[in-house]
Subunit: 588 residues, 2 copies
């Protein structure tokens, strides 16, 4: 049996199906064996960066990780941004890099920069951005290190792993093994048992709920990672709290649920932030309470409400720069909910509190920026009307992400995915390709900025080749609007380095070059017609939405303000009504 | 005085002029101050990967390093492939990453993955691929670490450095300094003095020369790095040896010199490899004798000739996997040549040996692949005729690089640049932009494959915006020809992962999208006309050269063969003539 046979068997056993491959000298033997086995679906993007994003995307959507195979040197280093994306969002993706033949590699204490052609020590580079980074230094290593790496992906907090295999080992013979060894309990399962929690602590939480008048359930990305989306729904039904989400948690709770009140944070909805700011109890499931959620002034976050945090990563619970918790549960969310539901006693329906939530939501559905071109808020609100046709939303990074998160409504059956922690431009194009590769009958909407879309535009060729049902939306504000807004606020509107030249790109022609359909929308009243058109086809298309380049990302928490103080200020009348509503809260 | 003021002053003092900037939150203060100072030329590519390549390119061309400014997170990780490119080719480039505010950063022993938005510990990632990687942990650090990093670029063997500066420190006040501190002798100067060599050893070399009948001077990239191109020419005039180069050294010696006999290696010229294989003395200047130069069978390299190596990096001289030297000089090449010229006594003109070299060159100018489409060898030979119009050649990675290196002739006044060690696809497009940014009146030819050109195709927008006189040449062999050739030789022609779909890209339309002129060449007899046309204009243009997708990269050393055994085999007649010529060598 060869190393490659073992890898193929292992992947089969773990039900891994989707592989991206960027071929090249140092991966060529493994690539050849894997392709000959006919056991896998293999996709070859042009740039390894795209492969890493596709892998990340599949590993988010599927319960099974995806694998990227790349060659050594630039093949490997081109993965780094994608690996970091997976690392910061706890995505269990697997990366395999080919390495030069073992006898051509730099020896352990040899201090030259390189020996073999395209040799790079990718393991050292990746140590701080992976759960584990292994180099196979003899063929038999694969028998222990591949299962170990796989387990590491799912051990406690999820994350990516990388394995580096010299070319000559890829076809090397190894001793046989019994496939039963694959079946031993995963360390992750063992580990989960350790994270038990006491009924005592759970009862304490139940008492807090019984006393609470204005509770909130805040759902983060960890709910998805612990595969607890349905459980969280069940919990919410028992709790009857208003539910808020982070951006990462936006697709972990049905946005059409009557108890859902939007997503919070620096670019959250104003009503959502106000609700959170006025709660007296905040149960946080799987959110690290990042400063994009709390605002820079994190000590004022949930100032009036006791914070309860559930997180599998104890380091997050102990993080210095986060609001203080009243109670912490360092446990997998699935275990937490299952245990808690057993003891939960709650008859309160919090009707007054939810009435308040509804009142301010109705009051604060704001949309007052004027424009001769398209208003992005309106665009995304109208996109919601096509939601039955859409399975996955992918948002890139920039202003368009903020407008999308503020205005899209994600149903039970949909996903809303972005590179949340690393916030990577150029992610949403390949990531949408990943969704189609995983689920070819699906429809994805990939939301991009005019600049960020260019980062991996070459992969339009791949989308077209796959005949992928992906609707690429380009919100064109002629450069980096989110940076210009920062320059407006803090640098006296000195615009610089915001990709001013991008306007000279004719996206229509480029789409023709990739044989991809192109549409444009220049006014609010063209939105519906064009969306109807693009969703009536199953082809890849690009739709360029022209907005005013000065259109602001509003509302927004300016640095140092708390969640109840978003910019721009409300008009005096609304402001007074809100004040009055808040004053009633103390009387509940 | 602010940290940014100091940086500006320091750059001015070091005559640094060319900066690439990818703006974003964490670099915004420094970016703003640098742009307001009006002291620099600033270019903003779309992708940070391109910025790193542009920086690398300028730092190769100029004696002064270039600087890249990027934001934290993906801005920083997108640099890695470019930094590794600089590292492996010893390019002194400077990278400055913005970091989140110091108070928002992960504390030293804090084990969360991220605290601040887009926070990534880029320093840990870059430690093994830079001369030094510094984080500024208090504003005053800049006073010591910036000069130290700059010095490190040039200390002994050159290489890139990275400095990470939190946003809040970028405008922080620091104590003033005297600008005279910039003038203290650079460590690199001090260090150079250490590398002295004894006259004894030099005399020994002189004796070897006096005894030699068939000497060769092999010039590598180190000759350029030590700024010794003119000195090497002087040395060659005194030595009167035939001169060969590596690919990295190809632009360090006039290819039109009567003593120049091509470049050696796995994809070298057949006559060059034969000359090297039959020498009795090989003086190697600034080449690490990589296996792409020696072939995999490195112990047979220069089997008949004593190897003399001059290298500033002692680790290279002690490298395990390299041919054994007879004499090593661990010294800067400039110092070596200057010292050696003082004692060199040589009256031999090696006329018989050079006659041999000329004879086999004339015999082995081969070009026998047939094709209805363009033959790339012919294309590059005809491109040589336009050489007066061209300042810089940039070659990407793949088959086109091999054909270019085998057939282009580089004059004294030209440069031939590629990512030699890391062998990075997507390099030649941004790198050519770098040359134009540095020298706007120059003309560059950027040679690419149909796939590799797509890696950073978005930057065509930048070339057009700059109105850069760059002639992009795309050798279209419908995918990765060099991998297919490997699959032919070693994998029974099982083609896989060689970008088969790339043919569906209509480059003409894409060029229209970027407002760039497009030309195509489909037959040998169209070459001259089209080249005449593109060189009569100073505009950016793309020329797609269609070749047979099975056109081989010949001649080539198959793995394990020595330099005298290139594939394909010579015909019987040529083979016998060569044998006869070689048999005469012993009679010199």
């Amino acid at each position: 049996m060869k190393v490659s046979d073992y890898i193929i068997e292992f992947f089969k056993h773990k039900k891994i199906k989707h592989i991206t491959l960027n071929n090249g000298g140092a991966i060529s033997f493994l690539a050849d064996e894997i392709s000959r086995s006919k056991k896998f679906k293999i996709l070859s993007p042009i740039h390894e960066q795209s492969s890493a994003f596709i892998n990340d995307s599949i590993s988010r959507i599927s319960k099974i990780p995806s694998v990227s195979l790349v060659t050594s040197g630039p093949g490997a280093t081109n993965l780094i941004t994608g690996i970091t994306t997976s690392w910061l969002d706890s995505v269990p993706s697997i990366f395999i890099t080919g390495q030069v033949n073992s006898f051509e590699m730099k020896k352990k204490n040899e201090k030259v920069r390189q020996v073999g052609f395209q040799e790079t020590n990718i393991i050292d580079i990746c140590k701080t951005i992976t759960k584990s980074a292994f180099h196979i230094s003899k063929p038999e290593d694969i028998l222990t290190l591949l299962p170990k790496a796989y387990d590491e992906c799912f051990l406690a907090r999820y994350g990516p792993v990388i394995i580096d295999i010299p070319l000559n080992f890829q076809r090397a013979e190894i001793k046989t093994y019994k496939s039963s060894i694959f079946n031993k309990p995963r360390k992750s399962d063992i580990k989960k048992k350790i994270y038990k929690t006491s009924n005592n602590k759970l009862s304490k939480l139940n008492n807090l709920i019984l006393k609470s008048k204005r509770p909130v359930l805040l759902i983060g990305h960890g709910v998805r990672l612990s595969q607890s989306v349905k459980l969280a729904k069940k919990l919410s039904k028992s709790l009857k709290f208003p539910v808020l989400t982070t951006w990462g948690g936006k697709d972990c709770f049905n946005n059409y649920d009557k108890n859902y009140f939007g997503s919070v944070g620096v670019y959250g909805n104003r009503f959502s932030n106000l609700i959170l700011h006025n709660c007296d109890l905040l149960i946080c499931l799987g959110t690290r309470l990042d400063t994009r959620v709390t605002g820079g002034n994190y000590l004022d976050f949930s100032k009036k409400g006791k914070i309860i945090s559930v997180d599998i990563d104890n380091h997050e619970l102990r993080k210095i720069r986060r609001p203080k918790s009243y109670l912490n549960f360092n446990i997998d969310i699935k275990l937490f909910i299952n245990s808690f539901l057993k003891i939960l006693k709650n008859k309160n329906k919090f009707l007054k509190w939810k009435k308040f939530c509804n009142q301010i939501r109705n009051l604060l559905q704001e949309n007052d920026q004027k424009s001769k071109l398209v208003r992005p808020e309106i665009f995304f609100q109208q996109l919601n009307l096509f939601n039955k046709k859409i399975n996955y939303y992918f948002a890139d990074t920039g202003a368009h992400l903020c407008w999308a998160a503020q205005n899209l409504k994600i149903s039970d059956k949909q996903r809303f995915i972005s590179s949340f922690g690393h916030s990577t431009m150029g992610y949403a194009l390949p990531a949408a390709i990943g969704a189609n590769f995983y689920n070819p009958s699906s429809c994805s909407v990939s939301i991009n900025g005019d600049c960020s879309f260019q980062h991996n535009i070459q992969e339009l060729a791949l989308s077209q080749k796959m005949n992928a049902n992906i609707k690429f939306i380009i919100i064109n504000n002629n450069g980096y609007g989110i940076i210009r807004q920062f320059q407006d606020n803090y640098l006296n509107s000195r615009y610089f380095g915001t990709c001013e030249y991008i306007g000279e790109i004719n996206l229509k022609k480029i789409c023709e070059g990739f044989s991809v359909d192109y549409h444009s929308i220049k006014k609010d009243n063209e939105i519906d017609k064009t969306l109807t058109k693009i969703f009536s086809s199953k082809k890849t298309s690009v739709t360029e939405v022209f907005i005013n380049q000065n259109h602001k990302i509003f509302p927004k928490i300016e640095y140092g303000n708390s969640l109840d103080n978003m910019s721009p200020c409300l008009d005096q009348k609304s402001s007074q009504i809100i004040k009055y509503f808040i004053s009633t809260l103390s009387k509940f």
